[in-house]
Amino acid sequence: MTAYRLGQGGRIDRSRTLGFTFDGTALSGHPGDTLASALLANNRLLVGRSFKYHRPRGVVAAGAAEPNALVTVGSAGRREPNSRATMVELHDGLRAESQNRWPSLNWDVGALNGFLSPFLSAGFYYKTFMWPASFWEKLYEPFIRRAAGLGRASYHADPDRYEKVWAHCDLLVVGAGPTGLAAALTAGRAGAEVILADEASEPGGSLLFDSASVDGQPAGQFATQILAELATLPNVRLMTRTTVFGWFDDMVFGAAERVSRHVSQPLPGQPQERLWRIVAKRAILATGAEQRPLVFPGNDRPGVMLADAAVSYARRFGVGVGRKVAVFANSDAGARTAASLQAAGINVVALVDARVGHPAAVTVPRIFSGGVVSGTSGSRALGAITVRHAGGEDRFEADALAMAGGYSPRIHLACHRGGKPRWSDAHQAFLAPEGLAGLTLAGSAAGARTLGECLSQGAAEAAAVVADLGHTGTAAQFGAVDGDVPEGSVRALWHVPGGKAFVDFQNDVTVKDLGLAVREGFSDVELAKRYTTTGMATDQGKLSNVNAIGILAEARGVSPAEVGTTTFRPFYTPVSFGALTGSSTGHHFQPVRRSPLHGWAEKHNAVFVETGLWVRSSWFPRQGETHWRQSVDREVKTVREAAGLCDVSTLGKIEIFGADAAEFLNRVYCNAFAKLPVGKARYGLMLREDGMIYDDGTTSRLDENHFFMTTTTALAAGVMNHLEFCAQTLWPDLDVRMASSTDQWAQMAIAGPLSRAILQVIVDEDLSDENVPFLAAKTVSLFGGQLEGRLYRISFSGELAYELGVPAGFGEAVADALMEAGEPHGICAYGAEALGVLRIEKGHVTHAEINGTVTAEDLGFGRMVSQKKVDFIGKHMLEREGLVDAERPRLVGVKPLNPEQSFRTGAHILAKGAEATLENDQGYVTSSAFSPHVGSTIGLALVTRGPDRHGEEVVIWNALAGETVPGVLCDPNFVDPSNEKLHA
C-alpha cells in the first residue's frame, strides 16, 4: 500500500504546514488533517498492534468507530493513551506514539502470539494456568497483565482545568450531517431554542465528502451555506467537537465538548474539556449510520479499510489511500465508492461485488460480479488480494481495499434507556426501538439511504417537533439532489469462509472464535460476547457487533432478530474522568465550611483538621510545644484548673417555632420535652424508629413557642432532614416550623472553674448560680448593651461551663474580648482534641459511641426513655428481644492496670485469660485518650454486661498494633462523679 497526498482537493489548508511526530519521527500535515489522515498522507500505514496477537494494523475508519489506529498523544500530565487517530486533530507539535508493541511497532515480539494462535482460541485461559495454584499470581497473571492493556496512563497530575455546564433547549439535534442541519434549520427558523451538537471538528457529516450535489451545489458548499444561515439565528447554538454520549432519564443528555483537544495546551481561561448536561424538551437523533466491514480472510491487513473512510480521506482530507485500490462490497455502495475515488483522481483496479446480477455503472479494469475477497497478502501492509468467483480464483496486486458491508444506523443513544433494537430484514440492520417519548430518529440513523431522504426526513421531523411545542414553522425545502447513489439491495454476507477472518479487530476475535463459542454452549449473544470478548474493546463493537450477530445467527441457524443485540449502554464513546469531574478536583473536590471563629483560631496558631466538610481547630500549640500531646494536655489541664474557650460553632443549630413546637419535640425525643420551662435547656436523645439512638444534643426553650436545638456536628444536616420529615409527613397538623441557624451563630464554650468570672466581664447581667443555674438558657446583653447573645449553662467537660452564641460576624470580636478578659485568669484556647479528652474523662458520649447500633440502655440512658409517652419516634421497637438482651455490649470505662501502658481506640476487650477468638470477643474501645487528670490512658468501651463488671480485669487486645494490655473496667465517669464542679 502506498498512501499519498493528492495534488488537490480536500478541506485541508494546504497553505500552512503543521509539524508532528509519530514514534519520534518528524512528519508534517496541514490544518484540517486528523492524525490519521496525516499519517496516511505520509504513507504511514502501520499504526498499531492488536490486543491479543499483536498483528500489524492500519487505519480502518475515518471517525469515532476506529478500532485499530489507537495512539498515545501528549506527555507527562497531558499524556492520553488510546486516542483514536481518526479523532485527533492535527496541531503543531503533536506527539503521538504507537501502543502495545515492544520493542517497536515494526518489530513487535508480541507478534509471536500469532504463531500460538491455535492454542489461544476464545476462552483458552479459562481452561489452563491452574497448576500449580500458586503460579497464577506469581507467574501467569503478571505476564498476562503486562501483555494486556493498550496504552499506558500517566501518573502525573493533569495540569488542565475542566468544567461542567447545564444547558436547556427546546430541541437537541445530535449530529450536524445533512439530516441534523436540515432539522436545526427548520426548528431554528421556527424560533425554537435549538442545540445542534456534532462530535467532529467541522460540522457537515457526510456532506463533507459526499460526491452528490444539492440544488446544483456540491455537497460541501451546500453545508457551508446552511451553516451560514444557522449562524444568523441567535436561538440556534452549534456545538462542534461535542459528543452526546448518553441519553438519561427525563430528557437529560450528557455531552462532552473537547474544548482544547485540538491545541497543544488550553488557551488562557479555557478548560480542556467541558461536560454538558443538556435538558431538552425534544431531541432528534441525526447520528447517521456506521458502515460495516466485511469479514473475510485477511481482512485486518493494513490497507483494508471502510469504503466511506477511503472516500472521506480522498475528498475531505485530500489523501489517496493507495495507488491501486480495490473495492469489495455487497451492495451498490461498491460502485459508488469506485466512482467517488475515481472522481478524486484515485486509481481503482477492481470492483468485487458479492451480489450476482447487479451491473455496475462504473468503469473499472476488473469487475467481479458474485465474487468475494478470499484472501489478502503483504508484509505489514496490503500487497495483493485474492478474489474467489464463479470462474475460480484471481490474485492480483492491490495496495488498498475499500470494503462496504452495509450500514448500521447509529441508534446507541436511542437504546440507553432500556429500549430494545429491532432487526429489519429490509435494512439488514438493527433499527431503534419504537415509541421513544421525546426522542425521534431521522436520516440514515432511521434507515434512510439517500441524501435526499436524509434532508427531507430531518426537516420533517423538526417541523413536527416544533409544531408539537407550539411554534409555527414549516419543513425547510432544499433543491433537487443530484448524484445520490442509493445502496440498492444488500446481500447478507456475514463472512467469507477460509483463513483467519476478523470480526472484532481490536480484540482479535475471529469467525472461528464465535463458532467455538457456539459449540461450547456460549451461543447466547451475551455469553458469546463475554466468552470471546467481541465488542468489548475501546470501540465497543461499533464495527463488529452486527457482524458478530450475523455470524452467530448463521451458526445457530436462526435470524439475527432472534439472536438480538447486547445492551447499548452509555457511553457512546469513552468520556474522560476529567470531563466527568469538572472543577471538583484537588482542594475543590468538596466545598470547605469555615467556622466564623476560623480567623480567631488562626490568630492563636491553631492546627486544623477536617471534620466532614468543616475545618475545625484541633489544638493550639504554644511556643516550645513540639508534640501535639503537650498542647492537648496543657489545654485539658487549663480547663480543669482555670478556664478555656473552645469553638463549638460547627454543632448543628435549629430554631424551632410554632404553637405545637413543644409537642413536636416531645415526639421526636425519647425523653420528655413538653414541660420544659422557658429559660431552660435539656439534654435530649433522639432515636430512630428501630429504637437505636440517632443523635443527641441540648434543646432550650427560649420562648413559649420558640425552641433552640443543637445537634452533633456530624448529623446536623441529617437531623434537620429528619425533623422536617416528621413535621411534614408524619404530623402535618402540628404547627411547627424549623430554620437552620448553624451559620447564624458563632458558638463558643467557656469552660472551667473560672469561666463565670471571665464571662461576667462581658455579660451585663449577673451570672451567679442563682440567676443562671445549671441548664439555664437565655438571651443576654453583652458589652453594656452593644450586642445580644444567647447564653446556655451547659457542660460537655464536667466543669462549670457555658456556651455563648453571638451573631457570627461578631464571633471573632467576642472571642477576642473573652480571651482578653480571661488572660489574668490564665484562659487558653482549646480545640477539638482537648474537647475530646475532657468529655472522655467525664464519660460523655459522641458518635464514637452513638454508632447506630446502640440503644439508650446501652449507654446508660435507659431511665431517660419515657415510659409515659404514648408515642415518640423509636418507641415501638424498643422491647424486642435483641434490644433488651442482657448480653448486649454496654458503656463502661476502661483503664490500663499499669498506668505506663497505653491502648488505642478500636482495641477489643477479652476476658482475662481468654483465648483471642471471635467467640471470646466481649466488646471494643470506642474512645480513648491520655487523661492528665487520671494520669494514664483511659477509654470508653462497649462491653458485654459492662456496667456490672466495674473493677474486673480484662485484656485490651489490639493485634494490629501488636499490643495486649492488661486493663480494668471501671465507671466511665473519671472526673468528679458527684458533679460538684458542674453545679458550682
Binding site: F248, D249, D250, N721, E724, T729, P732, D871, H876, M877
Partner: protein, 91 residues
C-alpha cells in the same frame, strides 16, 4: 425521574438536590400493635411497577415530596407535597 424531579414548588430540578428516603409508607397509630410496627419499619412491598417514594428537596425548598413513578421505566406520574398527601389520606 432519575435525572430531574419536577418539584411542585420549584420546578424541574436535578437529582443532586434531593435526598431519597425510600417507600412512602404510612406510620401506624401508636397502638397499632407489634405486627403493624414491624411491617412499617422493616417490610417493603418493593413493587416492580408503580411506586410511591419519599424524596426531600434538600437543596431547594426543603419540602418532603411523594414521587410516584414506575420502578421499571423511571417514568414519573406525579410529584406531590408529602404534607398534602398525608392530609388526603387522613381525610
Amino acid at each position: 425521574m432519575a435525572s430531574l424531579i419536577r418539584c411542585p414548588h420549584c420546578g424541574a430540578r436535578p437529582k443532586e438536590e434531593f435526598t431519597i428516603r425510600g417507600a412512602a409508607v404510612t406510620r401506624p397509630q401508636p397502638d397499632a400493635g407489634e405486627d403493624a410496627w414491624y411491617a412499617y419499619v422493616y417490610l417493603r412491598d418493593n413493587p416492580m411497577g408503580p411506586f410511591d417514594e419519599y424524596w426531600h428537596h434538600t437543596s431547594g425548598c426543603r419540602r418532603w415530596l411523594v414521587v410516584s413513578r414506575d420502578t421499571r421505566t423511571h417514568e414519573t406520574y406525579g410529584v406531590r407535597d408529602a404534607a398534602a398527601v398525608a392530609g388526603e389520606s387522613r381525610s
